[in-house]
């Protein structure tokens, strides 16, 4: 694997960083929302 991006590192790394940030945070948010809904439903059904 070659991580030398010169002379375009200032464009390539932000492109990958932004993709990772957006897709990663959306994935985490989706999982958190699913878990919250599951927990809330379980507590309501217990009641």
């Amino acid at each position: 694997m070659n991580f030398d991006m010169s002379p375009y590192g200032a464009f390539i790394w932000p492109a990958y960083g932004l993709s990772a940030l957006l897709l990663g945070s959306f994935t985490l948010w989706t999982i958190a929302r699913w878990r919250a809904a599951k927990a809330k439903l379980a507590s309501l059904e217990q009641k």
């Binding site: 375009y8 390539i12 994935t27 999982i31 809904a37 009641k47």
Partner: protein, 238 residues
């Protein structure tokens, strides 16, 4: 014709099926991401674009997903209007934020690729760029419309109509590079112009994007089914 689809469109069956499918799909997505990154970062520099060719592996899949997700919304909207199926409404609604994110990524990574290759971040006169921006606004409008109408049945009908009207933008995005003289390059992957050394990592990354979308979409649909159940339980209790 769609009997098999409606069999699985039953929320209980859908939950059962996706419980089995999701671990496999998410595992495959992680493997595709690892393989795609390995192959991509191992690919040699392009003779013209140098290492910026690496942006191809994330920009083009995001752009394809942008229109593909909209296609899913259109199909779900058709089922919603014709068959009045609740899962079709949920499927259309939950896909929209994913489509918006893919479109935003396509725009941002395209801009980061365009600056070193074209010398500019953005060109308003470019039909591909502008039609993709219109696509992003269509997604935002669609999401906002769902949130603005309180009656969910009414919101589903109006949003389905908006999605169908907005579908006119899909062929415009696809053929913009052929219909107009654009700064954006023409189609190079399906036409076989992309060298094999770049095609393989691109295909693997494309597979990752598709799998990621399917996983997130299924989880979002499952979440909305649970949230609807929570709402009906709370309404029943009050």
């Amino acid at each position: 014709m769609f009997d098999w689809l409606f069999r699985y469109a039953n929320p209980a069956r859908f939950m059962g099926l996706t419980t089995t499918l999701l671990p496999w799909l998410s595992g495959a997505a992680v493997l595709a991401l690892a393989a795609g990154l390995y192959l991509g970062f191992s690919a040699p520099p392009d003779y013209q674009q140098g290492r910026t060719v690496l942006i191809l592996f994330i920009h083009v899949p995001a752009a394809i997903m942008s229109t593909m997700v909209y296609g899913c919304i259109v199909v779900a909207s058709l089922f919603s209007l014709v068959n009045r199926h609740i899962l079709a409404d949920v499927a259309a609604r939950t896909a929209a934020p994913l489509g918006a994110i893919f479109t935003l990524l396509a725009l941002a990574t395209g801009s980061l690729w365009g600056r070193p290759m074209w010398g500019v971040w953005w060109v308003w006169g470019d039909a591909r760029l502008t039609s993709t921006l219109v696509q992003f606004f269509l997604y935002l409008g669609y999401i906002a419309l769902w949130g603005a109408i309180e009656d969910e049945t009414r919101a589903a009908r109006i949003c389905a109509v908006l999605a169908l009207v907005g579908a006119v933008n899909i062929p415009i995005i696809k053929y913009s590079v052929e219909w107009w003289a654009t700064l954006h390059q023409g189609e190079s992957i399906m036409s076989g112009k992309l060298a094999g050394v770049f095609l393989t990592p691109w295909l693997v990354m494309m597979l990752f994007y598709v799998l990621l979308f399917v996983c997130l979409w299924l989880v979002r649909i499952r979440t909305m089914i649970l949230e609807r159940r929570i709402r009906s339980l709370m309404q029943g209790a009050s």
